[in-house]
């Protein structure tokens, strides 16, 4: 099977700042591909170019067999997106929001079924602006799934969520992957990448500095003789937090 995302020598400059400096990578069908990096590394710019929202200066990109530069609308038909800084139209319920996006694709969908898939069917009649942060992220994924996309792009999906909501979203992403959808996500949470991603690309200052499965990246580092100054604890503070407060979602 050919790669579902193919990127070659992609470049993007904003005035003096070179946000993306000639990156190349492939994403295989069915995998969860993670793009890691600090804020300002160029992750969002890259993703938005692949989503057909931004024009690159040079290079090439194909998503789901479509040339992104030649046919951005064709790409939009085939992908689902969750943007980092975005919002839904106000004064619509969760169900109406899903229907609104279905109308944007000119498709009829089972809105309640989609909401059930993200465990939001009980909130179907609630105005979307009254949903909690985690609920809104799940609604966002429901709207990204209205067109049964081949690739789902998630830009920092768990930023700002509490640990329970994060883990719940991880479970959702894994179930979407099991359904056969390729997932392309960006994050700056390394634990998230380690749990979710089959492969990660680490981006810094507009370049990809490493790209491999998380286990291999760690193995390579250890092979180079790396040791942590303090022995790794067997549990983290997050484990303590989750042990004390439980894994269940805390959403009224």
């Amino acid at each position: 099977m050919p790669p579902i995302v193919q990127v070659a020598d992609l470049r993007k400059r904003y005035g003096e700042i070179e946000a993306v400096r000639g990156i190349s990578f492939d994403v295989q069908q069915g995998e969860v591909f993670g793009m890691l990096g600090p804020n300002g590394a160029g992750k969002t710019t890259t993703v938005e170019i692949l989503e057909g929202l931004r024009k690159a200066d040079s290079g090439s990109a194909r998503v789901a067999g479509v040339d992104v530069f030649a046919d951005p609308s064709g790409v939009k038909q085939r992908i689902g997106v969750q943007l980092q800084a975005s919002a839904f139209p106000e004064h619509l319920t969760a169900r109406e929001t899903v229907d609104f996006f279905a109308a944007c694709y000119d498709l009829d969908v089972d809105a309640i079924g989609l909401l059930r898939a993200v465990e939001l069917d009980e909130r179907a009649g609630q105005l979307q602006e009254r949903l909690s942060g985690g609920q809104r992220q799940r609604l966002s994924i429901a709207t990204a799934l209205v067109n049964s996309p081949q690739v789902l792009f998630l830009d920092e999906p768990t930023t700002g969520l509490d640990p329970q909501a994060r883990r719940n979203l991880w479970g959702l992403i894994q179930s979407i992957r099991r359904g056969g959808t390729t997932v392309f996500l960006t994050t700056h949470y390394l634990d998230e990448a380690e749990v979710l991603c089959d492969r990660v690309a680490i981006m810094d200052q507009g370049r990809i500095v490493a790209m491999d499965p998380p286990r291999k990246l760690i193995g390579d580092l250890l092979a180079r003789g790396f040791t942590k100054p303090v022995a790794q604890q067997q549990a983290s503070l997050e484990d303590v937090f989750l042990d004390l407060t439980g894994h269940e979602l805390r959403e009224a």
């Binding site: 904003y14 989503e51 057909g52 929202l53 931004r54 609308s73 064709g74 939009k76 038909q77 997106v81 943007l83 800084a85 975005s86 919002a87 839904f88 139209p89 106000e90 004064h91 619509l92 109406e96 229907d99 609104f100 996006f101 109308a103 944007c104 694709y105 000119d106 067109n147």
Partner: protein, 364 residues
């Protein structure tokens, strides 16, 4: 088509749930209407008219007496020369010269009809227009009484009781026009720029929805709201100010909707161009304020310096106000105001092109 209908249904539902938007589209225009309606009622209520009766016969007496009995008119008798002087100093709105051969009798073939000459102050065209309406309908009624035939020249509609025409009747179409402009430009620009800043438009643009369809859905949504607004304003005008609307309500609503469409496209172009909500009021004022003053809403459009009059005559609101006024005050049909309608349609085309061109969602 189906996509537009679905998007419109969603947008309309959201709009009707938005109390603040509803407030601005209904309550604020009503306040404007009430404030300006009362303000202008006392201030400009009467038309000052001088009569130079050169005939001094029973027919001219009859005309003068009827005119003097009309509340809206402030009638004095004066010589032509003295009246023209006053007219030039804008101390007088109108002068009516009744010729020496004035008579009210059936015209016979080959015989010239006596001409009543009316002078008007160009700087006060609203008052002059009201005065002309009154004079024309009075003459029609007198001649109708004598000849028992329909007048040769005159007012189209028997129900045109020109005598009842007051300044507020003249003012209401202008207020309607300016409210249509304000609602369309401001509500659309604010709502869409807010959507842009919050990232709503960006999220929508990540779908393959056609921009034209999305814009059309927004336009149809606002046309529904505007129809409601026009209806409420007209009802208040009829009930509160007892306004006389001579022309048909149908043509009035058609022109009002065309005007809404026009200013919506301008609102969309502005929303497309502006990046932050702070830019909206500044630019919106820049667009609406000159029209507020130069398109004959409260002030005469002829008060503008002669050099810029060719421009002010082409302003969108001028076309809208003129059409609304001719329908409401003079009972014009849609065909009668075809020039203004053509002007509105040209502006709609320009505005639509501009809106589609300026709609960009990229942040950089």
């Amino acid at each position: 088509m189906r996509q537009i209908a679905r998007l419109t249904a969603a947008l309309l539902r959201a709009y009707l749930r938005d109390r603040i938007a509803l407030f601005f589209s209904l309550i604020v225009p009503l306040m404007l209407m009430v404030i300006f309606g009362y303000l202008n009622l006392g201030e400009f209520g009467r038309v000052s008219l001088a009569i130079d009766d050169q005939a001094k016969n029973s027919a001219s007496d009859q005309l003068t007496t009827i005119l003097k009995g009309i509340d809206t008119l402030d009638v004095t008798e004066s010589s032509t020369d003295a009246a023209l002087m006053k007219l030039r100093r804008t101390e007088l709105d109108m002068l009516v010269v009744i010729p020496a051969d004035f008579a009210i009798a059936p015209a016979r073939p080959g015989q010239t009809v006596p001409q009543v000459t009316v002078y008007g102050d160009d700087a006060r065209p609203q008052q002059v227009a009201v005065g002309r309406q009154i004079i024309a309908s009075v003459i029609d009624r007198i001649s109708f009484a004598v000849t028992q035939t329909a007048p040769v020249v005159g007012v189209k509609d028997e129900s045109v009781q020109g005598v009842r025409l007051r300044y507020v009747d003249f003012l209401v179409p202008g207020i309607l026009g300016v409210n249509i402009m304000q609602l369309a430009v401001f509500s659309v620009a604010f709502a869409l720029v807010a959507d842009k800043q919050r990232g709503v438009l960006r999220r929508i643009m990540a779908t393959p929805v056609r921009i034209a369809n999305l814009l059309t859905a927004h336009v149809i949504t606002r046309l529904f709201i505007a129809t409601g607004q026009v209806a409420v304003l007209l009802i208040v005008a009829l009930v509160l100010f007892n306004v006389t609307i001579v022309g048909g309500l149908g043509p009035l609503v058609v022109v009002a909707l065309l005007g809404t469409l026009l200013f919506l496209t301008i609102g969309f172009a502005l929303a497309g161009w502006a990046q932050t909500e702070n830019q909206v009021p500044a630019i919106a004022q820049l667009i609406t304020l000159p029209q507020f003053f130069f398109s004959g809403v409260f002030f005469s459009k002829n008060a503008a310096p002669e050099v810029i009059r060719p421009i002010t005559n082409l302003l969108p609101l001028t076309f809208l106000n003129d059409a609304l006024r001719e329908i409401s005050v003079q009972g014009a049909s849609l065909w009668d105001v075809r020039t203004q309608i053509a002007g509105l349609i040209v502006w709609i085309g320009l505005g639509f092109l501009l809106a589609v061109r300026l709609f960009r969602f990229e942040r950089f």
